[in-house]
């Protein structure tokens, strides 16, 4: 997994609440057996106008937000389906950091599995940033995972909370499965104990 330490990047605004993963990537793009190439489906329906042409107003279609690496959005981002295709599509588009006032649980988890940093800031901080992004062409933020800060162009600094274990894994780009496998003997002894406590859980298929 790619490590995440600091990121200074262009910010793209998605000023909506409750953005569900069906909107982030609609079902027709879930038929892939790969993790890559999903940007084509990112916000597919929202990018289009009713007549099927691209909507020039939608943020991803605006030239000023091309190359953005930080997505700024509102409450409950990523709710709904567990599809990891949602963070894959955002990553494929170039987003490595998503700042929101809150996230849905499964989406939040899925980001960390892909070297992406989801940041929760207070609703009023997000709102103020949203206004600044819209008002300021080329608006960039600097995200520092080590210090847990987001710094605006004027030097204003917001601190964010993150679980220490997740932070460490992301910061060092650790392989989550490899980490768990280091505890193989502990897992085996757990299984041996449970087999005597609850043997009905070990009558495996086949």
């Amino acid at each position: 997994m790619q490590a995440f330490t600091t990121l200074t990047g262009l910010v793209a605004p998605l000023d909506r609440v409750n953005v569900d993963t069906d909107q982030i990537i609609p079902k027709q793009f879930l038929k892939t057996i790969k993790r890559t190439g999903l940007r084509e489906g990112l916000f597919y329906d929202w990018r289009k106008q009713k007549n099927g042409s691209q909507d020039p107003e939608f943020f991803l279609n605006q030239p000023r937000f091309q190359g953005a690496t930080i997505l700024l959005t509102r409450d409950n981002f990523g709710c709904g389906s567990s599809r990891e295709h949602a963070p894959w599509a955002l990553l494929d588009q170039g987003f490595r950091c998503i700042i929101a006032s809150s996230f849905a649980d499964i989406f939040y988890n899925n980001c960390f599995q892909n070297g992406m940093l989801p940041i929760v800031l207070k609703a009023d901080e997000v709102l103020a940033m949203m206004q600044d992004v819209l008002a300021t062409p080329g608006y960039q933020l600097t995200v520092d995972l080590g210090n847990q800060t987001v710094t605006a162009p004027d030097g204003a600094c917001s601190r964010f909370e993150i679980d220490p274990f997740r932070k460490d894994c992301l910061y060092r780009g650790l392989d989550a499965i490899g980490l768990t496998l280091q505890h193989e003997t502990t897992i085996a002894s757990y299984e041996a104990r449970r087999k005597t406590e609850a043997p009905w859980l070990f009558t495996d298929l086949r």
Partner: protein, 467 residues
């Protein structure tokens, strides 16, 4: 020992290892796998040279992409066909049991787990699907995960987790006639909101919950995720034990008796506390219909479409106005004035035999309105077989409903069952997001009983007074 909730008991028996900061390696007893969220997980195993730790603890089934029409014709969409073929190859390569598309046991993953007795009380169950919460109906800790975590569980039979908070949702009283578990859960989501349960595991308690059948409890727990909670659960009781007994993959004989002793301990202790509690009265719950593009945008059939101008909160006002525009609804119109084009009875929420029995009994002797196209998609091949043995298919067909093969179908429209732009559907499924059932399609979430009545009348009606 301190008093414990049901959740506490299951969590603690599954801790493999806990760090001082609370980061926990949690053991996973069971994994369910389907074709959409697994190919990249198996690819990951191949690339890293890893093998499943306990292939026999995983059960796989294709459901999202399968056609619900004649399967001898194969799958028309080459991408869908490829995804199902990939699941078959992966299960063969990694020694995982698969119920293939033409197996009578095939069906929606959250229908077949309980049906087969793969879902057991007191277990931890995961699947790359957010509606894994369904299995909580048995007093299991069951939640949806992403594809990377599917790979993690295959390789290690464990997941790294932080302990969630607990929420009790207590519903006491008696539901009015023809109000169902679907109406209860929609009303709950309407009350707590779509993020109300974020960070929590819900335990549903109270006399109205206790009175639900196992299938009703599955409907209830299924939509916990629509309230933001990854898992919802109901403590097992004698109904649960009776339901599990004798199922093909359930423990047998002495092992079953031993399991039952354990399952009888699975309840929240009298003095245990939850992090938060929400209470409702069953008598206050009217048949529910969603009007918007999020499951929390829901109201009673005896109410009206909301008026954004009367909403004080700016965010809520904008979201409501946007939803009404997408849904093509006029503020303040009675819910009963909403006319529909399609009816879908199916999905992991409402496609079990009891749902179909009730729907068929209401459809009997009636006919789908001329303006409506209605279909019934059973939750599994075995549900379909059972329904046909009981003659339910005949009742549906005589009433003008299409009778289909089992699968996820129009719940998420990954197969050929899709709404056209602007079409309005009364659906027994779980999500009414924009485009969920097809780009531009408009979904109203309802119970099976409400769906049948709407199919016959061509618009929503109050099932309590319908005849």
């Amino acid at each position: 020992m301190a008093a414990q909730t049901l959740f506490d008991k299951i969590w603690e028996t599954h801790v493999v290892r806990a760090e001082p900061d609370g980061t926990t390696l949690l053991y996973i007893d069971r994994q369910l796998v389907h074709e959409v969220t697994s190919p990249q997980a198996f690819e990951g195993l191949k690339l890293s040279g890893r093998r499943p730790r306990r292939p026999g603890a995983t059960l796989a089934v294709p459901d999202h992409n399968v056609p619900t029409t004649d399967r001898t014709l194969g799958i028309a969409d080459p991408l869908s066909a490829k995804q199902i073929q990939t699941l078959e190859e992966n299960c063969r390569d990694f020694g995982i049991t698969l119920f293939g598309m033409n197996d009578i046991r095939q069906g929606v993953v959250h229908v077949i787990g309980p049906e087969q007795g793969f879902t057991l009380p007191g277990t931890t169950i995961v699947c790359g699907d957010s509606h894994t919460s369904t299995h909580g109906a048995f007093g299991a800790l069951a939640f949806g995960i992403g594809t990377s975590e599917v790979e993690h569980v295959l390789a290690t039979q464990c997941l790294v987790q932080k302990r969630p908070k607990t929420m009790e949702i207590r519903v006491d009283g008696v539901l009015s006639s023809l109000c169902s578990a679907k109406d209860v859960i929609l009303a709950i989501i309407g009350k707590i909101g779509t993020a109300g349960g974020t960070g929590y595991v819900i335990e549903y308690t109270g006399s109205a919950i206790r009175a639900l059948s196992m299938e009703g409890r599955m409907t209830l727990c299924n939509m916990s995720i629509e309230g933001g909670a990854r898992a919802g659960m109901v403590a097992p009781d004698e109904n649960t034990i009776a339901y599990v007994k004798g199922r093909p993959l359930a423990p047998k004989g002495e092992l079953f008796e031993q399991a039952v002793q354990d399952w009888r301990q699975l309840k929240t202790d009298a003095n245990a506390t939850y992090d938060t509690t929400v209470t409702m009265r069953a008598e206050d719950i009217a048949p529910q219909v969603s009007w918007g593009t999020s499951p929390g945008m829901v109201t009673g059939i005896d109410q009206r479409v909301p008026d954004p101008r009367t909403i004080f909160d700016e965010n809520q006002r904008q979201a409501t106005a946007r939803a009404l525009e997408y849904m093509g609804l006029i503020p303040n119109m009675p819910m009963t004035d909403i006319a529909i084009d399609k009816v879908f009875i199916g999905s992991c929420t409402n496609a079990r035999i009891e749902d179909l029995r009730l729907a068929a009994s209401l459809a009997k002797g009636k006919h789908v309105a001329k303006t409506v196209h209605a279909m019934v998609v059973p939750g599994s091949g075995l549900v379909k077989q059972q329904a046909e043995q009981e003659g339910l298919d005949r009742l549906f067909k005589e009433a003008g409903f299409e009778w289909r093969e089992a699968g996820c179908s129009m719940c998420l429209a990954m197969n050929a069952d899709v709404l056209q732009p602007g079409e309005r559907c009364a659906s027994t499924s779980n999500r009414n997001f924009e485009g969920r059932q097809g780009a531009g399609g408009r979904t109203h979430l309802v119970s099976p009983a409400m769906a049948v009545a709407a199919a016959v009348e061509g618009h929503f009606v109050d099932i309590r007074t319908w005849k």
